[in-house]
Each structure stands twice: as C-alpha cells, then as structure tokens.
Amino acid sequence: MKDDTIYDVIILGAGAAGLAAGIYTSRAKLSTLILNEGTPGGQLVLTHEIANYPGVESTSGYQLGNIMKKQAKSFGCKIKSNLHITAVDLKSETKTVEVNGKDTYAAHTVILAPGGRPRMLNVPGEEEFKGRGISYCATCDGDFFQDKEIIVVGGGNSALEEAVSLTKYASKVTIVHQFDHFQGFEHAIRDARENEKIEFEMESMIQEFIGNENLEAARVKNMRTGEEKIINVEGTFIFIGYVPNTAFFKDVVELNEYGELLTDDRMKTNIPGVYGAGDSVKKPYRQVTTAVADGTIAALSAAEYVNEIKRKQKDLSEA
C-alpha cells in the first residue's frame, strides 16, 4: 500500500510518550500518524495499578492507556499497531518509514518513542519453557507454583520484591544474581535476606534450562569459581531489567553504549526534525509521568519545526 500523504508528524511507538505526543500534535492540528510495533499503551498497559498519576486517584494502566489512545484518536491522530518497522530514512528533508516491508509513510518530522521491553536471558531452553515454568510476571503466574521450588533471576528492586512476594506460594525461592551485591533499595534487600524461604546464588548466571514437557531444572554457573551446579526447580521468574527498543536505529541516530537515544532538553536528537521521547531516551528516571512529559516536549518541538517549514514554504510560494 502506498500512502501518498506527507504527514506533519510520524510517531514511532504508542506508549505513554508516543500517545502524549500524538495528543499534542493532533490537537495542534498537525496531521499525525502513530506507527506501533506492539499493543497501544506500551509498558503502561502492563501496569496493574497506577496510583501516583497526578489528577487520577487510582486506575489500571490498561484503562489509562486506553483513555490516552481514545484522546489521541478524538483529535484526529491515526494509529496503526502490531506492525514491523522495516526501514527508515530520517536524514532526508521528507522522512520516510517503511512497515512490513511494503507500506511507506512520509512526514516532515519523526518522534522516536519505541519504549523498552523486558530483558531476556537468551539461554537455551528459555523460549521452550516459557509458560511451562519460565515466567516474567509473578502476579500473573505465581499461583501456579504453590509448594514448588523456584528460581528468581535478578538483583534489582523488581527481582527482590517479587522473590519475597513469591514466597506466598513457593516452598523455596533461590535468587540467582550475577554480581556479589544487589542493586535494589536497602529495604528490599533486607526483606529478601530476612525471609527464611529465600536462598541466594550470588555471582552466578543461568546457563541452561532443562526439562521435558515442563521445566525441571536449571544449570547455574558461579562466575567467580567456574563451578557449575544443577538446581532442580519447577519454575523460574526472570526480572533483569528492560532494554530500549532502539536496535533498529543503531546506525541511524545517535545512541549511547546502552542503546539509549541521546536528546537535548527539547528532546531533539542529532538529526534535524527527529525527536526522542519516553523510556528509550537516556535519563535517570522512567515513570509514566516522565514519559508523558517527554512526549509533550517532543510534540511542541516538532510543531515548532513543522510550522517553520510551512512558513518557509509559504514565503517561497509568495515570492
């Protein structure tokens, strides 16, 4: 399909940052297209409860994400989801984005808000036993592991808090962490250390998941001594952080060594007319509120850029 429209703004990503940007640009009467690889709402819709979003007493992330999507659409923003971005040209004056290897869309400006995704271990057996012992969500799957022995992988707040939470079900929880110290808050570390059901395998990494129909064991290597052991478990929960969805933009726009987009205080990247927003941008805090703020700033900066282009075009046509 060839869409001949040259949009004012194309936004890549429909999480909180992308939707906020879409609300602002479409409200400002800029023709806006959001292209999204996953479900609209991004990480936001995966959050069970949001109680600290100003102006909203308590809601589910799913509801908040749905409202943002409806708001953006109500102002005329087009949203296309669950597609693959296969090529981009961001350096030309008119920027283009190809999706699914066939459909091409063009715009004066592009806002990159691709968000992040849970990091996987990428070891043998991980994909095979997903849903058959391996999980990334304690709230979702914890009750399948009543009186069973499990592993929690990770050393941040999520891993420590979920390990404690999983002791409601599991008979024993072994935390496997690659460093000799945890990165979580002091209270989270203390809660985990004081829990009698929790054991620790520090400076260790999982090498392989083993089983037949379901997960039965994990092969764990101590990275300091090189010693390997088999831990018999029926479940493993993996909480090792998030990775920005920016691999596709590696040779296109400036990223740091962690794959995070580098932007200035107006969310401008190193390419004129291209902006970054949300969890994929280098910044110290990642919250729904900070994503929305990024999206707003990126949208206002993009609007200024588009208005300048249109002013120049008008001057030329009148000259």
Binding site: S60, S81, N82, C140, F144, E213
Partner: protein, 116 residues
C-alpha cells in the same frame, strides 16, 4: 469481566454454544496482567482482517473457565494467558503465556487459513 473490547464469554454453556456456532474460534483465557493484555490487543487488532475467525476472551478466575483451564491440551501450562483455538467445535491448538503478533497469525493462518 475483563476490560477488553473483545466478546466476553461468561459461562461454560456459553463457551460450548460459541464454539459450536462458529467454525473458527480463538479464545484468550487470562487476567488483566502484563502477559495477557498484549494478546487481547493483538486479537482486537486482528478482528477486522480475520473476518473468518471469531475472537473472544474468558476470565481465568471465573470458575466456569475450567472448561479451558482443565482441557487436556492445556495440561502442564504454567503461564497466563491460556489461548485456545477451535475448529468446528474441536480444540486444535493451545498456547501458554504471552504470544507475539507473528506467533498468533502463524497459528491462525495454519489452522484457519490466511485472510482473503
């Protein structure tokens, strides 16, 4: 009731009637959690294109959902959602935990054919 835009199946009787009355059926049985919501989103997205497939959800914690939870094809499943596919009333495929758009469309195309 799940907060999705899909058809909600509330009882085992309704489930039986649904799979008998529709040739090609996909039902996602889950909660409003991070592994389930993306699958509902994919189904909502596919409804317009896969008009030869009927989509629905069923709440995992509803006792009536035992019809899916206890299906032999779901034995050993330890991750939400349980997603089940029926052809002419017979369960032909089941998956556990989150699935991508590519994984879902591959199953739909294999079991029910690609959209025209």
């Amino acid at each position: 009731m799940l907060q999705t835009n899909l058809k909600h199946i509330m009882t085992a009787d309704e489930h039986q009637k649904f799979i008998e009355e529709n040739d090609n059926v996909m039902i996602c049985c889950g909660r409003m959690g991070p592994m389930c919501v993306p699958v509902y989103g994919i189904m909502e997205e596919l409804e317009d294109d896969y008009t030869h497939v009927t989509f629905a959800d069923m709440e995992f914690d509803n006792p009536e959902s035992a019809v899916i939870r206890n299906a032999p094809e779901c034995r050993g499943f330890m991750g939400l959602p349980f997603t089940v596919y029926y052809k002419n009333g017979k369960l032909v495929k089941a998956t556990s935990s989150i699935q991508s758009m590519d994984q879902v469309t591959a199953i739909l195309n294999e079991q029910f054919g690609e959209p025209k």
